[in-house]
Amino acid sequence: MTTTTITKKSFREVYRSLHIPPVYYFLIVVFLTSGILDQLYSDGQILSNPLIGMNILVRSVALGIVAIGQTLVIIGGSIDLSVAYLISITSVMSSYVMQGKPENVFKAIVVVFAIGAVVGLVNGLIVTKLRVNPFIATLGTSLILKGIINGTFSNYTGSVPRSFEFFGYERVGSIPVSVIILFLIVIGGWFVLSKTKFGAHLYGVGGNDEVARLSGLRTDRVVIGAHIICSLTAVLTGLFIVSRLRAGAPWVGPDGVYDLESIATVVIGGTLLSGGKGGVWGTLAGVIIFGILDTAFNQLGVNPYLTIVIRGAIVILAVASYTYRSKLQVA
């Protein structure tokens, strides 16, 4: 907030037109604080070594991809708690189908995306047609997925062929493929939300369901679409994780807390939990903030459980600051 003492008018106009989500100030604060602490108490890699920066981004890929899908669902006034177990299913199923053989990669990808589409469709149908509160609906599907996967697999299953590891480890020049994919997903999410009819309708449905209906929107389809997209991003996250781990395991989703953390980063990014307002750039910042915290605590060798505490505090702080700002707007 202190960095905005801008005097030149034209610059201010350009700045305003960019609509930078306020969470980016927070991102800068978190980055600098971590960097300074690192400088003082550790080897100062965060500020001096650009590789660390890249490392932070790689750490952010798994959460980032699924958080973009979560952003869409939340803007549409829904929520998806089933992503964590969908990630697990993806990792296990893909490596199970691949069995280390390159010729099975395509088949595996088709299978897991099909599973994802079905899960998303089911979530969307339960929310829109059965009118079950989305929190409960997706908690229910999440439990169902959990039961299925824990009943079927209990340990590392199958393996990923070398050729598939490019997703997790390959680089184009000095930039990891996974980071490029994350940015493509972010840009894709931004494009869908701000440039397409589907995006406009999603904001409409999330902002006020009744207004959207009276304007002639088929609101159910919009919500179902968002759920399918969200599930597909969860599948993509699952594929990224399995390519890093080289084999699927049923615990990767819940261990990463992708359900609650994706929701947390969306909210930190400034998207309204009740829907109708927000965007993917804010979510990206939220994800990177989490990535910085992980890296910094790693560097400083602090008890990892403390990062969880800090994460919680950041979620509360961010949301409280948005509420405070919106109150100022009203007054």
Partner: protein, 528 residues
């Protein structure tokens, strides 16, 4: 005389086909006959105002025309052809748009996005932002607002009037022929009303039929060409503006018999000392409030919707406290900053919206009755200690006092009738030993028999030395119950009328057609 004008109007319009016509519309809600056999014609290029008291059926009629309600019987004709709308969208598509009091815009989307929501120009699903912008500009030009409202502005940054204009622009973009507005000026300042009026003149010139509901007769006379009066769901008449006077319209709105028995008024000699007085009370909704309330009297507060009646009650009870001015309770200067303080100072507030503010519908009668007693006791002490023992005797005695008809006090309040629910609300304040009662619409939505018993109960309270401030939009209730009548307009108490004043006098003062200054009890003779 009124009938003659209606005849005249009919003859004038015989050649023209009305844009919208309703014939013999009847609509019943459980316990209420909302509309009975109403027939009206709405001509192109005519601004048609529909006026009437609360509960006259105005909103129901509007909603039927806009497809939000389906009538029990009767026909709707659009340009002479019979139509039936089962959903507002159908009405919309056929050229009938409605603008409700609460806005239907997405606050965090732009003007252009709002106007064309669901109809965005696009190729392969990708919105053509330029075309969208241009289309919005065209529509805004049509309403003459292209310089003031930018298509790219976020709707939450617009003023209330601008938002209303965006809604009108949206309606026009559907090529609406009929525009229905529910209290269009209710939330507007006077300059904003002017903007709206100018726009209505423009739309009229385009040959649209404009229908609006209003409580404000000034506004009606400013912009309407034709005025229809509804009363208790029945069409009283339609008059041409040129031939109408405020007195006549008011007379048409209120002329009726008192339809039920009220308990006898209090005797001025029995009124005790002043228990509540306010001097120069101000807050964002209220200006210069001065009032006194004595033991044993019922003071009625009348006024149109939005005149500040409920806000007055909320200020007294500390919901939205006065920001300046002084409040004296039981002879001592007090600051009531929150409802909990008001309750401790022995005030009780029976709210207008029983469902959301007065009861816990899913809790038993017992807990509802003890709600306020428990609220002001020590948080952890209540139910564990005296609460239970006290409630054993307290609840039945309260139940007897207010005459709740129930087989068990453990029944959930949601299963009681409206009248019995209101009795439960009353009993929770009796339980807290309140000495000052504020009633906001005490008998709204309850049947006649329960009404009478609640009126009796209010009068009984005063006999126990309780002071009552009663807000009501039903003038018969105000007149039948009040020992004095305060009339509010625009957040002020504009005058005080004696008991048994006529409905005409109250309405004229509430609409600003006879001035009152709070001290002067002299009013011009009514126009009966």
């Amino acid at each position: 005389m009124i009938e003659e004008q209606i005849e005249g109007l009919r003859e004038e319009n015989t050649e023209e086909v009305p844009l919208l016509e309703v014939r013999n519309i009847t609509k019943r809600f459980p316990g209420v006959q909302a509309l009975f056999d109403v027939s009206l014609k709405f001509m192109p290029g005519v601004v048609h105002a529909v006026v009437g008291e609360n509960g006259a059926g105005k909103s129901t009629l509007m909603k039927i025309m806009a497809g939000a309600y389906v009538p029990d019987s009767g026909d709707i004709l659009l340009e002479g052809k019979k139509v039936s709308f089962s959903h507002p969208k159908q009405a919309h598509e056929q050229g009938v748009s409605i603008i409700y009091q609460e806005f239907n815009l997405l606050p965090d989307r732009t003007v252009a996005q709002n106007i064309f929501l669901g109809r965005e120009p696009s190729k392969f699903g990708v919105i053509d932002a330029n075309a969208l912008h241009k289309m919005a500009l065209v529509v805004l030009k049509e309403v003459g607002m292209e310089d003031i409202i930018k298509p790219t502005a976020m709707c939450h940054t617009l003023s209330v009037a601008e938002q209303q204009i965006v809604e009108i622009a949206k309606a026009i973009s559907f090529n609406s022929k009929v525009l229905i507005m529910d209290e269009p000026a209710a939330a507007l300042s006077s300059t904003e009303v002017q903007i709206l009026d100018d726009l209505i003149v423009k739309l009229k010139a385009r040959g649209m039929a404009i229908i609006f509901i209003s409580h404000r007769l000034n506004e009606v006379f400013d912009i309407a060409d034709v005025i229809t009066v509804l009363k208790d769901g029945v069409l009283v008449g339609t008059v041409d503006k040129k031939a109408a006077t405020t007195h006549k319209i008011v007379h048409m709105m209120v002329g009726r018999e008192l339809d039920h028995y009220f308990p006898p008024l209090g005797n001025a000699d029995d009124f005790g000392p002043v228990v509540l007085s306010v001097k120069g009370g101000n807050n964002p909704f209220l200006t210069d409030i001065n009032l006194e309330l004595r033991r044993g009297e019922v003071v009625g507060v009348a006024g149109l919707q939005g005149s500040g009646r409920t806000e007055l009650a909320e200020a007294l009870f500390g919901v939205t406290p006065f920001k300046s001015g002084s409040v004296t309770l039981m002879g001592k200067p007090e600051l009531v900053r929150a409802p909990s303080q008001a309750i401790k100072k022995q005030m009780g507030f029976v709210t207008e919206d029983r469902k959301s503010e007065g009861i816990w519908p899913r809790q038993p009668i017992r807990d509802n009755m003890l709600m306020t007693v428990r609220a002001i006791q020590f948080m952890f002490g209540v139910i564990m200690k005296d609460g239970i023992r006290k409630s054993r005797s307290l609840v039945p005695s309260l139940g007897k006092q207010v005459d709740v008809r129930t087989d068990s006090y453990d029944r959930e309040v949601q299963f009681l009738s409206g009248g019995n629910q209101q009795k439960v609300v009353l009993s929770k304040w009796l339980a807290s030993d309140a000495k000052i009662f504020i009633f906001d619409e005490p008998t709204r939505g309850i049947d006649v028999e329960a009404k009478a018993s609640i009126h009796d109960m209010i009068r009984d309270l005063t006999k126990k030395g309780i002071a009552v401030l009663m807000i009501s939009s039903e003038l018969p209730e105000i007149i039948g119950m009040s020992d004095r009548i305060l009339v509010m307009r625009d957040g002020r108490i504009v005058g005080e009328l004696p008991a048994k004043s006529s409905e005409n006098d109250i309405m004229l003062m509430a609409t600003g057609h006879i001035p009152g200054d709070g001290s002067d009890h002299q009013v011009p003779a009514g126009v009966n």
